[in-house]
Symmetry: C2
Subunit: 272 residues, 2 copies
């Protein structure tokens, strides 16, 4: 007979297992980001933890929705009322030259038409976020501490032993707006600046994956320890053993991601 946590975990794992391009989940994108599948598998391989939501990190360009009154403050980044995604990617390979696929009017001064109802274009880089349900408070605290020690300094324990794992590698740039009379997207900044922003986003993707990798290893070590305390740093491992282990981990992960990308692409083609 399974206890409440095991039942919940069992149910979630079945949903994750069934999830694919042709069988979408309830999230806006509908599938799990492939770049975080390795760390999700690591977490779910531990009998005390189960992931309840995840995003591997992404770049997005969003046009705010329609603002119905003058109280704009409550509507910053408004999702509703025709707010729409202009561009979204979780994959740094899809970043280069994204701006050339959008028809921007580049107008870098003299913004007379801005009003409290202006719908801004928001460019964002958002890093890895994971929500993990834990069997009990002690195990939640162990996971929280592991994440904090890896530099995920905005992590926290919420209700029902769910740990949110968060880091502050961000970009949040309102860089244009919708010119209503023409229905055009105006960029406040030059194409050259969008190129810089894209390059800086690529740096953040790299840093994000480096931190994800570090967290993955720390959680693997946490799973190995019997007492819920992370002994990664206190293990009697020589420098050479460590180098080899890290290299193998890195190679295995790259191989896994390559395979996942291939499968995702095939599944996408099947659907189309």
């Amino acid at each position: 007979m399974l206890d409440a946590f095991d039942q919940k975990k069992d149910h979630i794992l079945k949903e994750i297992g069934a999830n694919s391009e042709s069988h979408l989940d309830a999230s806006p994108k509908g599938t799990i980001d492939i770049f975080c599948i390795p760390i999700i598998n690591e977490i779910n391989g531990n009998p005390n933890y189960v992931t309840t939501s995840s995003c591997s990190g992404r770049v997005s360009v969003f046009l705010e929705g329609i603002k119905h009154n003058e109280d704009t403050t409550a509507q910053i980044g408004a999702k509703g009322y025709e707010g729409r995604w202009v561009f979204v990617t979780h994959d740094p390979d899809e970043l280069p030259l994204w701006y050339d696929n959008v028809k921007f009017i580049y107008q870098d001064q003299n913004y007379k038409e801005l009003t409290p109802n202006t719908r801004y274009l928001l460019y964002k880089y958002e890093p890895l976020i994971l929500h993990v349900k834990c069997r009990d408070t002690k195990l939640a605290t162990a996971l929280y501490t592991t994440a904090m020690n890896c530099g995920f300094r905005e992590s926290g324990i919420g209700s029902n032993n769910v740990v949110a794992i968060r880091i502050s590698i961000k970009l949040d740039v309102p860089f244009g707006y919708l010119e209503e009379s023409l229905g055009s997207l105006v960029s406040f900044v030059t194409r050259d600046y969008l190129e810089v922003l894209t390059k800086l986003s690529d740096d953040r993707f790299k840093e994000n994956f480096r931190k994800m990798n570090q967290l993955h290893q720390a959680i693997a070590a946490l799973s190995l320890s019997s007492d819920g305390v992370n002994h990664l740093t206190s293990k009697q491992e020589t420098r050479e053993e460590r180098r080899l282990r890290k290299m193998q981990l890195g190679l295995a992960k790259r191989e896994e991601i390559r395979e996942l990308k291939k499968r995702a692409k095939e599944a996408k083609e099947e659907v189309q």
Copy 2:
């Protein structure tokens, strides 16, 4: 005889009480931001809670420090090695035309001189953040739930019953860099765009103070309830009573902040 929590709280309150322009605390700024003193007083007036750190929300412009190798990803926003604040304010009244007090070279295209070691200029809006130590886990959960219900969706419980109260009203804009050979600050964007960014920051200050006010009221209601559950919404208050109460709360707070600003100014003048 005081228990451990009461001893800790007693100690913190003494430090807060002694803090002034002529008696700085250990934070970079050295004093508590006046805009969050009312909510801090509300929290510390509850025998089960004590604030351990706070920031009322701020705009900052930061020049990254020197990057010593090619691995820039680990050095995004580097604080050390001559990183320096170009502008910081917690007060929306100090925002207008801040950029005219900095000697920027406005150069909105053709960034040939960018390298992996480039030191970027980062413009940020960061909202209210509070850390609150709670007497026990149940009280920490009550405070966490109150904050989440007020829209502080990035809140979390950490170690030792410390609740971090966080909200995601942010701006994070790398908008220029240090041109090393001239020692000049180059802006990627026009002065007109910096004006837009400043206006959008002012909107975020307004939204931040609106949310802080909402949280203040919810914590006041939490203190009034005997069972640690927030009954603010279930109170039998007429619409007119509510309007009056809110108006009085707003007036009292504005008066309190005005008084605090006056005292801070006087203290500053005394020190100079």
